[in-house]
Amino acid sequence: MVLFFQLLIDGLASGAIYASLALALVLIFRATRIVNFGQGEMATLSAYCAWQLCEWGLPVALSFLIVGAASFLLGVFVFRAVIKPVSKAPVETIVVITLGLFVFFQSLCLWLWRADQRAFPAMFPSGGWDILGVRVTASALCILLVLLCLAATMGAIFRFTRLGLAMRASAYSSEKSLLVGIRVERMLMLGWGFAATIGFIAAVLVGPRLFLSPTMMLPILLYALASATLGGWDSPLGALVGGLIVGVAESLGATFLPFIGADLRVVIPIAVTLVILLVRPVGLFGSSTVVKV
């Protein structure tokens, strides 16, 4: 029984890792209706920059602030340089382009910093508590708390502020938004900027757990996509809950279902997502788009 609860906690901890990237994916989808496959690798680049600044002797907090702002600019730049020129193109084109971003940023990190894994400065204490034999680490708990705050803030901004409304509107229909006076391009730009910053925060949260390497986000991407789909692509809170469900399902499933070996682990999140989508096609917290005729 202790093992069961330990695996539950472990599942929540890895779920938090998936949720952090899922959050960035959901944000950019909400703001621009694009799934950015390169989000994780952009975050990796930011994380490397922060690590490099720390290595050069800057205080950790300062370098995180600098890179947080720089990530925003990176997002804006990517939008202007790569996405805007093809914004009228069909969705397949955009998908291929974001896949291109994925490859580009990964290769860039590999070229600049090579493949060795490195220690990423930890924001949270490394200790933990033993509760009836079940180990809970402080860092996992902190990650969850930070993510919860982030998701709540993001959700609130989208729902309750004029800015959020304008961003949602421009993502929904750029032409109609223009007609009512929303500066669509600026909104999309902001969306890319915010998503890149959230991605960086995600990388800061999970970096110490996963170790910094050019491919650290690669194994997570699949799980994050499953989490976002599970939770509903337009709900930040859904991404968080989706990530946690995926993490727990993976952890418990891989251990207690004897036929699932190392190779089948990755199937669990996909299977869970599929089942939930059959029951609720828009995901747990997603809202369906109603078209009135």
């Binding site: 093992l3 695996l7 890895s14 890792i17 220690a119 996963l210 891989a254 251990t255």
Partner: protein, 412 residues
Amino acid sequence: MRLPTLIKAPLALQALVFAMLTAAPARAEEPSAGITDDTVKIGISGPLTGPVAALGAIADGVRTRTDPINVAGGVRMADGKTRKIELLVEDDGLDPQRTLTNVRKLVEREEVLAVVATAGTPNNQAIGRYINQRGIPNLFMYSGVHELAGPEWEIGFVPSFTTEAATFAKYLLDNKRQAKVALLYLNTETGQTFQAALESAISDSGVTIVAAQPVTSADPTVETQLSTLKASGADTLVVITGPRQGAEAVRFATESGWKPTTLISNIAASIASLKPAGLENAKGVITSQFLKQVNASMPGDDVGVKRYLADHAAAQSKFSTEDALGQSGYAIGDALVKVLESMKAPTREAMMEAARNLDHAQLDLLLPGITLTTKTGEDVYPIESLQLFQFDGAAYQPMGDVISFEGKTPRH
């Protein structure tokens, strides 16, 4: 009108095959493709990009050895001629299919004499049939599994995983006779070979494997597996995975308050790769090694290490001097030079013959007491000795002497 040509084509083909068959004996003494009087072309396919690009240091390590030799004029071979080594490196991202494509390209278009240092067990598996059919030497594979798909034309380099398993087993039998072992293993030929060898080495003793968990290199974290291993009540953790999972295991073993005796395969035990887990957490970790410890700031007076550091500077190598993979590559380059030196004829057959009959060849970076020895038909394992080391928080300290399994590497 098309019919006759259709019939003629196979006839022409037959004639060609016949001509090749009859011509073959006459050409036996003629040089093979890829070798002239002043150069020998050698191909390498390895992951320069992708998730395991760290292995790319092996190819660069080979170059680190051959570049300075070329600058000095080349290798004097046993047929009396001195040749420069021309290396052709292709990137395969550790994808076996791309390795095969690369090797085909290297053999058919670039016409290399041999390929060396091909990284990865599945990758060597993938090219085995091809190199066997074409008769291309696949020298000093970077794979801990030695009996792969091309037995006549391949030879490994790093000690077999069975040797490492036997070394770990010997440590446990000598020091911890009632050890309850938890095994974290890579779910490939690598991990399975190791597991089987470990099981058979401890079969008649008090040492037992109480739990085993497989991992893949695509798992984001391996904490679930480690929790399960901890819950098994094991007091010893044996890790045979890549560096990332190895470091995670080390951190988990300390952070979770488990603190088992931890033995880590040398593929994951380099100090650089343990660093992210916290070096204080890695204190007490045991590994087995065949390469010398290189500390660039304190080179000591070891001639081999000094030459390595000089070559590393001269070749402007891209890996750090302390990178064990780069060092392995350098040792492979060194071994390649030894083989070239003892080749009696400029042919692929002579090259295999030389590689298959190494007699206590000494390499710059091998630990004192470890040499390359092979024998045609009997001994296909160049390195069969390992020395145990324990990490003291700053460096690895030797534990006892070199443990030799010369001529008795467990088969698998």
